[in-house]
């Protein structure tokens, strides 16, 4: 089962330093937050999609399409019903509400797509090393990368326990959604206990390998800024400056 978004491709985006990709992602968040204008958010969406296309990772959009569509639909419904507009279309629904709902849906979706592009083109080890190079202490960065690796193991453990209980006659497939959630709750306990037990083994393995012996660590994986990183950062900063200029000059 492939849980994570990373796609191993030969693209310029994959070759960028993880710090560059973190900065570009943050800049896209900042620009998305600055505007609620539909046309400007569509331009930003186009730029983000173009950036993703450079990394050949847009096929991952299929994997998060349900979330993106849910966000867009919920946003349009919520804002169409509640936004205080003047052009009434039907009941409480206003034209302004629908347009605002679409804009907010795009705003959230574009941030999520920017996050997806980052995760699809950056390995967990690169994210961890990038965080260390940005000044995050090694221990939290190590905890982060270990936790990410633990998630599939926990899911796999829960799957095994579920199958074991099903083979003993536990019926998890009937009933409404609440009844089915209720049936899953007792399964949480053996999963948690099994995982906590494994933590002891992991701790001993780390101790035996001298974890924490020295603050100065070397890394098998090396990252450094190249010309392409400076080029991508320069373009991203230029777009940010233009966005800030438009924001204040034209009060968009």
């Amino acid at each position: 089962m492939e849980m994570f978004l990373y796609m191993d491709k030969d693209s310029i985006l994959h070759k960028l330093d993880p710090r560059t990709k973190i900065f570009i992602m943050l800049i896209s968040f900042a620009i998305a937050l600055m505007f609620s204008s539909l046309s400007l958010l569509l331009i930003l969406s186009f730029l983000v999609i173009l950036y993703g296309a450079l990394g050949k990772v847009l096929s991952n959009l299929k994997r998060i399409r349900v979330i993106l569509i849910m966000i867009a639909i919920m946003s349009v419904i919520l804002w169409a019903l509640t936004y205080p507009g003047t052009t009434r279309l039907w009941g409480p629904v206003t034209k302004e509400g629908i347009i605002y709902g679409i804009a907010i849906g795009i705003k959230f979706d574009v941030m999520i797509i920017a996050g997806m592009i980052f995760l699809s083109s950056t390995k967990i080890e690169e994210i961890s090393l990038g965080l260390v190079k940005l000044g995050i202490p090694y221990r939290p960065a190590f905890a982060f990368s270990t936790a990410v690796r633990l998630v599939p193991m926990i899911v796999s453990t829960s799957y095994i326990i579920t199958q074991a209980q099903k083979s003993r006659g536990l019926d998890l497939d009937t009933g409404n959604i609440l009844q089915r959630i209720k049936k899953y709750i007792p399964l949480l306990i053996p999963v948690l206990i099994s995982v906590i037990r494994q933590a002891n083994i992991l701790a001993m393995a780390l101790e035996s390998k001298g974890f924490g012996y020295s603050d100065k660590r070397t890394s098998y994986l090396e990252i450094k800024f190249e010309v392409r990183d400076y080029a991508f950062l320069a373009v991203a900063l230029l777009i940010l400056i233009v966005a800030v200029y438009f924001k204040f000059k034209y009060r968009l």
Binding site: I67, D109, G115, P140, A143, F144, A147, L150, I196, G212
Partner: protein, 253 residues
């Protein structure tokens, strides 16, 4: 300790991820039964559980809701576990000679309910204030939804979960009091008691004062809050923001 951080984060993320599709506020939050875990992790593993909750929430965000709100989500989820850990021993709700989080008495179950509620409110206050400040979602809508969304599972499911997990974790010597050095374990003295009281007061004033200011400013609670007015009211920013800073500083004392 680092293993417990990773373990807590992994468990929290693994329970969060399957519910990512059940959206409550688009791009911000969803139905989260996983919110049972932060107070339990905080009481069992201490600071490691709190860091684990923060990192676990961030990993959960990687599966569909990574955005600027993730920064406040990181702090809020840290606080949802850290506040119960800090207040459990220091708020004065328990007998000084029995501070174990084993929920073997009505008094301890009451104490758990209080600290879990305060943790949930701290999380709601932090995230609600942060996203209102960024003018993304009105404080009254978001803080009220998160407060309810966090409180119910953390109490209804958190109590039996802690009752079941405590004996095992204690047996394996994985409780934070077994792992941390003796001098790192804070004593429940007068200074700690005052800090705990200030923390609790700031959380309650920030959340409920902020909600009152938001409603007075035209916002509404829960889903209706989307119609109550736009986010970013100065009065909400002042009350909720000031209280957030105070409770974070007091909880670190």
């Amino acid at each position: 300790m680092v293993v417990l951080v990773a373990l807590s984060a992994g468990i929290y993320a693994a329970v969060l991820i399957p519910f990512k599709g059940l959206v409550l506020i688009p791009g911000i939050t969803e139905i989260r039964p996983a919110n049972t875990l932060p107070p339990v992790l905080g009481l069992l593993f201490g600071p490691a559980g709190a860091w684990g909750s923060a990192i676990g929430n961030l990993i959960g965000d990687f599966f569909g809701t990574l955005g600027i709100g993730s920064i406040f989500g990181f702090i809020g989820n840290f606080m949802q576990a850290y506040i119960p850990y800090r207040l459990w021993r220091n708020l004065g709700l328990l007998k000084a000679d029995d501070l174990e989080p084993n929920l073997n008495s009505g008094r301890k179950i009451f104490a758990y309910t209080v600290v879990a509620l305060l943790g949930s409110f701290a999380c709601a206050l932090t995230i609600g204030w942060g996203l209102d400040l960024l003018k993304m979602v009105p404080f009254a809508a978001l803080a009220s939804i998160i407060a309810v969304n966090n409180s119910i599972p953390s109490i209804v499911l958190g109590i039996p979960l802690l009752m079941i997990l405590y004996p095992r974790v204690k047996k394996w010597n994985l409780l934070w009091t077994d792992i941390m050095e003796e001098d790192e374990i804070s004593k429940p003295d007068a200074k700690a008691r005052i800090a705990a009281l200030i923390t609790s007061l700031a959380i309650l004033v920030g959340l409920f004062g902020g909600l009152m200011a938001a409603v007075a400013g035209g916002q509404s609670l829960f889903a209706a809050g989307f119609a109550g007015g736009k986010a970013g009211l100065a009065s909400v920013g002042f009350i909720a923001g000031f209280s957030t800073i105070i409770f974070i500083l007091a909880s670190l004392l």
